[in-house]
Amino acid sequence: MKKLLMVFGVLLVAMCVLFAQGSGEKAAESDSPKTEDGKIIVPYWRCYTGSSAEFVDGIIAEFNASQDKYEVVPEYNGGYYDQFAKLMSTDRENLPAMCNSSSETVGSYLHSGLVKYAQDFIDADKNWSYNFYGNLVATYGVNGRLVGIPLGFSLSGFFYNAEIFEAAGIDPYSLTSFDRVYEAALKIGDGGYAKYAISEEHSGIWANYCFHREGLYTVDNNNGVDGLPTKVLYNEEPLKTVCYNYYKEWADLGAKGYVYPVGAKVKTALAPALGAKEVAMIITTNSYKSTMNDVFSQTGGTYGFVPMFSATDNGKQTGFCSSGNGFFIINNGHPDQQQGAYEFIKYFDSPSVQLRWMAKTGYLPMYDAVAQTPEYKEILASDNYTARVLEELGKSDYSAFYAFTAVNNIYSPAGATCLEAVINGADVQASIDQMCETINEAFKMYNLTNK
């Protein structure tokens, strides 16, 4: 059996060689954060995949070529949750200089202890010129000081199939409250204009956006400015009645079978169903534009997008919560890298990049200087709804936004679970109670262990 022994021996040696290869490369580059031509390497955890990542990588290449001080190197480290979990357990020396993540996670980053306030870099910079819209400043900042810097502005609301709405005789822009949405859904369902009247992307944040448009806060930290919340207000007046009605209406629609099964994904199920006129509207964010275009190029017909409604007609219709994505500068112990990250962010947010980015994703302009360009006017003319969305946006103020919680990963899925429960016939109040219990416990535990 010497042969066998030899085979094993050879395999072991081969393996050691393979291993050594990997470790050798690592040792060579960990010493110096510079490239061969002396540029400072700026590691960037880019939480984008697919074609968005491709676009961002293109911009990175442009940026790297445009100056000779910094070299941004993008790496993908999982989706929002995975990336955050990895950031939290990574040693400082291995941390990147920046990352990006979605707007709901601002609270987690703010309280992570990893992030450097972006405002500090902006204050030190005399050339900073972007005057972000108020709701973006509110979403990404505390008391007007930016924690992260937005990189793309999307809005929550609903996509609708124009033909179904026309047939049913409903003006989609008249649906400014969920009460109206509910009536419209009943009309569509009862009239048989579509198999399903309404659907929601699987997420708990839409309900919160709706309550915020109503002018009501969902957690007790005064719209995010008084530190961390200690409890949710779903079970306390004035939100209690509004919240109960909201879920009650969903429950009614669910009982009648007018709701597309919740949990189905936009890309694989909801968008195709919208194109096939099986569902009349999808509550989600407008950044699914390219998926919608793909679908409607096959099915024909037209679609549109209406920004978020309030809960009732009495709603104050305060500011639209912005969703979308932002950059965060990470305190990784390398100020030069962080400065490089800041320079890159500035480049990315410049009008020339933003215009291309918006054309691709359906994101909205983040400041006036972009919105007023002739190029953007062209983008506006390419579809039939963005101009209207901007008009609606102009009507609102910025007094409400999505309050920071450090435990958004629990906070917002709890809402999704509540919706799933009521649509499938569970008791409305019991489902809300369960949601409150889950979230309150998360707040309690977080506040107890992170002083």
């Binding site: 094993f8 393996m15 393979l18 995949t49 697919g50 890309k267 793909d294």
Partner: protein, 279 residues
């Protein structure tokens, strides 16, 4: 005469066809995946049963997966991982199982219980602790760092033990009388006889490594070290992603696996014949 032969042939042919049909039904998700990955994204999104075959077949999806995302690089990394981990698992697990079955020594029972327990410890909690360990040793972004915690497995030891228990003890005894040491017996008889079990273990490990997602995600943050699962996650594409790319990526990583598999099964069959010699 003729009809009898026909009957006989039918009696073997019909069950065979049934088995193959069941096989086709069983593998249909893979076939569907493969067919669908030739569809452009728009067509794919509105596909139903009636539009099963691609109307306008395209190679664009595969082009994206290979030329843009470069899945083949990730696949190579995965295979390096598979290869090294499987070799180590085979060696270490055989050694440990052999000691458990063919030796008597102090603390054996305790060690066996430890091994059994290791199978029952769920991974996601210890994964973070291991990541911290690997960082401390500066082994992030290396193959060794990615492989180290998985070089031995309770499941593998258990499987090898199950096999060694079936080797008649008289054989070891006879070998000893012939002047073959206990260790010599391992190399000369136990290991060659256990090849089918080793092949099973190798295949089991192959799947486990192929499917590993969170561990490589933690240990790797360089593109050149990514594994296939990270590549698949990357294809997902967020709100602007295309389902067609995911399916093409899936087909792309299924095909080499299937080839490895058919080859592996051949080896397995060979091994089984070797196993039968022991009689």
């Amino acid at each position: 005469m003729n009809s009898m032969r026909l009957k006989k042939r039918l009696s073997t042919l019909v069950p065979y066809i049934i088995k193959v049909l069941v096989g086709v039904l069983f593998t249909s998700p893979i076939l569907i995946c493969f067919l669908y990955s030739f569809k452009p994204n728009g067509e794919l999104l509105v596909s139903t049963l009636s539009t099963f075959l691609p109307k306008a077949p395209t190679l664009e999806n595969f082009w994206y997966v290979v030329a843009k995302v470069r899945m083949q690089k990730y696949l190579t990394n995965t295979f390096i991982q598979c290869f090294s981990i499987i070799v180590c698992q085979l060696v270490f697990c055989s050694m440990a199982a052999y000691a458990i079955v063919f030796y008597r020594f102090k603390g054996k029972k305790f060690l066996w219980i430890l091994i059994l327990m290791s199978v029952m410890i769920p991974g996601d909690v210890i994964v973070i602790s291991n990541y911290i360990q690997i960082q401390r040793w500066h082994l992030t972004n290396t193959h060794i760092g990615m492989a180290l915690p998985y070089l031995v497995g309770g499941m593998g030891i258990f499987l090898m033990r199950q096999f060694y228990l079936t080797i008649p003890k008289e054989l070891a005894e006879a070998a000893e009388i012939d002047g073959c040491s206990r260790l010599g017996f391992m190399w000369r008889f136990a290991v060659p006889l256990s090849i089918p079990s080793m092949a099973s273990l190798a295949i089991y490990e192959f799947i486990a490594i192929y499917n590993r997602y969170f561990w490589p995600l933690l240990v790797v943050d360089k593109d050149r070290m990514r594994t296939i699962q990270l590549g698949m996650a990357y294809l997902e594409g967020g709100e602007n992603g295309k389902v067609a790319y995911i399916l093409a990526g899936a087909s792309f990583c299924v095909i080499p696996a299937v080839i490895v598999f058919i080859f592996g099964q051949k080896f397995l069959v060979k091994g089984m014949t070797a196993g039968a010699v022991k009689g």
